[in-house]
Amino acid sequence: MSVYDQVSATRGRHDGRISAAAGYLTANPATAICFGVLLLFVLMAVFAPLIAGDPVKIDPAQRLTGPSASAYWGRDHLGRDVFARAVYGSRMSLLVGFSVAAIATVFGVAIGIYAGMSRIGGAIAMRLVDAMMAIPAILLAIAFAALMDAGILTVIIAISIPEIPRMVRLVRSVVLGVRQQPYVAAAISIGTGGLPLVWRHILPNTLGPVLVQATYACASAIITSAVLSFLGVGTSPEVPSWGGMMADARSFFRIHPELMVYPGVLLSLLVLVVNVLGDRLSDALDPRKMVRGSV
């Protein structure tokens, strides 16, 4: 053990193992708080019907009224319960965030590993990725959303497509690093090849940076979905979403700024929490691996 190892041993063990990383995450109070907040958001989304009333019921008589026992945060310009819409809006954000992270990871890892393992296929895949990354993600998402029927699935697909190339790039660069590791040469020399080589040796050692990237993809998808709702693309206006609420509140910002503040604060808080968790995760995983994984 060199002195440097001893020094790092005093800072906690960086074994590059996800289980160890989990222990590291929960040990830190700031991280634990972020976990707690994220959990609250999830609970809010799951148990929305128990927490809040009907988010779509219109009551023109009570439009723009202040907080009351039936509507804690008041009512919007159509007389809808703002609190209920905010609570239900978390469903949209979390669903889109998690789905996009999952889709981008699955496709990104599959394509990225292929691109990292095959010379010709890799070259073709990377040129496609370059081309896609040349187009701003939000434009790409709007274009896809406009082409397809309105609905949450459309939003998820539209946001996932621009996220995939980023993941592909990351995965490929990590795979290129992992392929240079002596244990891969060792695996080839004992006759492991093709899919087993990828499955046993390449994939498991790629997952650390991928997990971090997935959290970032999740945060960015939450923002993009809010932007799409704000622009009125993707889902129909009555589906409660924070972006849509902010778009509605725009016209009344001078007289009722709180209508903008509620969804805005929730959105910022959620994105912050997810990003912090991503940062902590990337710290917790083997730092040497992270260097190799950075694009």
């Binding site: 053990m1 002195v3 020094v7 041993a9 005093t10 800072r11």
Partner: protein, 348 residues
Amino acid sequence: MIDMTSHPPVADPVLDVNNLSLEFADRDKVTYALDAVSFSVGEGEIVSLVGESGCGKSVTAMTIMGLLPKHGARVTSGSALLRGRDLLQTSEREMRRIRGDRIGMIFQDPMTSLNPVHTVGMQISETIRKHRRVSRGAAEKRALEMLDLVRIPDAASRLGAYPHELSGGMRQRVMIAMALACDPELLIADEPTTALDVTVQAQVLDLIADLRRDIGMSVILITHDLGVVAGVADRMMVMYAGRIVEQGPTEKLFADPAHGYTAGLMRSLPGVNARMRDELREIPGSVPRLDRKIEGCVFAPRCEFSSEVCLAPLPQAQERAQGHWTRCIHASAVCEAMSDNDIVRAWA
């Protein structure tokens, strides 16, 4: 207690380390990294800290230089006097002035210590100007002198070279030049040749020996390689599990090792002229974990000479001969067993 801290006295030492103990504290565990380390470095002397990885040789050097992280590492006792001034009681600000000025340092991998975007001439003269109020021109002149001193051929043109344009051996020479630029009283070399090929290693070791002869430099040479120690060190300290188990003049230690560990190390060396295909004498087992204080001899569990008494609280460091100290109770038995030191003879 005096027995615990005793070490061969050196007249007018440049560095005098006394009873140095250090712990690394983690959230849930403590590592006792150094235990009562004591040694001195005399004027113009090359002493070697030798041992296997994790034995504490690098930690000792880092502690002396004040380079250990502030939280985590804790000096629990001892002093390190540089010409009478205790480096362990010196503020970080002061230490920054002392490092590079009164103590020069070189490390295993010169590439990590050199800035890749600056020329070597610039880096050496910057080091000088950091510690001395001299003009840029004077610093550059000094840099050229230093490159000449470390025998870099065609030094004037190498001043403008970037680190990546030099070979590993040349880079280590540049590091030595930089470390010596301010005329330090002490040079600490941590595995300076480990990353180098044998032929280059031989050149760098020759250089260190020459510099000692020419400018009377005092050197602490940290290495795991007994061959390197035998080649250049005047005295050696053998470290194991955070303790100096034996120290003395290099020739004496090689001729009459008086600690089970030193003996074990020497016997496990494959010799160039040893009979082929003989089994090597291995040291069984592995290094102990240092997460608890070990009362008795740390090497006892792996030692072929050990007995019950070795597990009792630490044996006194005993002087076997002039300046040759060992912490082994069975020193005489070890010496006797090693009297036919066939490995060392096989090399002769």
